[in-house]
Symmetry: C2
Amino acid sequence: MKRAGVTAEQLTRAAAELADEVGFENVTLATLARRFGVKEASLYSHVRNARDLKTRVALLALAELADLVADAVAGRAGKDALVALAGVYRDYAREHPGRYAAAQLRLDPETAAASAGARHAQMTRAILRGYDLQEPDQTHAVRLLGSVFHGYATLEMGGGFSHSAPDTEETWSRTLDALDALLRHWPAP
Amino acid sequence: MKRAGVTAEQLTRAAAELADEVGFENVTLATLARRFGVKEASLYSHVRNARDLKTRVALLALAELADLVADAVAGRAGKDALVALAGVYRDYAREHPGRYAAAQLRLDPETAAASAGARHAQMTRAILRGYDLQEPDQTHAVRLLGSVFHGYATLEMGGGFSHSAPDTEETWSRTLDALDALLRHWPAP
DNA sequence: GCATTTGCCTAAGCCTATTAGGAAAACTAC
DNA sequence: GTAGTTTTCCTAATAGGCTTAGGCAAATGC
């Protein structure tokens, strides 16, 4: 019998696509096995277990997202860079909800350390160069920005914003205006 | 054989406690059945299915959280109210991670409409009375605050903030300072 | 006390995850 | 090319979890 030729990378990619289709929490080894035309048990030659697969998808999403951010902020500064970076997160969450959810998976410390996670913090910190913030305010600001971007993406996706009154598009641009203003006039302690 | 005397409310409460112990996604009918000393199938007399139970936990958490917020902001205004409201969300997320996750469950529109969800938006809007914001900026601000609080809680819980440098306690208070300043000097469009 | 409703049970089917052990394909090295 | 090794896939089996169907006994209403 000829082999299907599955690899861990293909499996991870397929899992990411499946996650975008049915939600990260509904990604199952059984579904993937069917999709590849092999038996479930065969997948254990490529990934340790279901958790391992989810971790791989998380790492994929983190790296993919970091690359997109790096691209978007290249050559930009100040509010321009802020808008670009924020837009990448929001768009990614909307276009790849499953992958975005995967990127939120809690990783164990070693895995997290080897992930693109640090690049994210690093790039957010980079756009703060366009503003006049010293440590430790810079770190506070990085965390605040991370909170807003992640919170906004999550709430918007989850329908947390009522579909009424001002549309989310406008809220988004006004939120960025607000954050820009805040960073330009960061309050003294 | 005497009955265990399970009710939907007890079940929901137990599920909420279990969620705080093992994580919302790991709440299972099987575990609850064991905890009540009945068979799994018996639970279907009280809840329609696993999804129904999760929905009930979500509604419980939303209501509980709304009550806590209402209590916290009573008699406060301005930054005082902001800090109180924000603190409730953060503390609840840390003390009841499972319930907090449940509160994020995506509900179908009718269920959501009947939930305490609206009270949350309402109360956030209320604290903005201490600031000089007109519509539609008020709505933008409500969404921004919601994003920050939710995002912060999620990232802090998930270990998204590296455990290094300034501790999260300080970031939290500086974040509130920043939001207060932002609301006091909301940028014109 | 008797009828009805309600709570719980057994039985069974379906899905997913995981492990163990085996066979054949693919690859390596002469 | 062929012998040996590794890799990939398989079957078989176990263990959980979710859900439905049908039945009996406990609680409740009159």
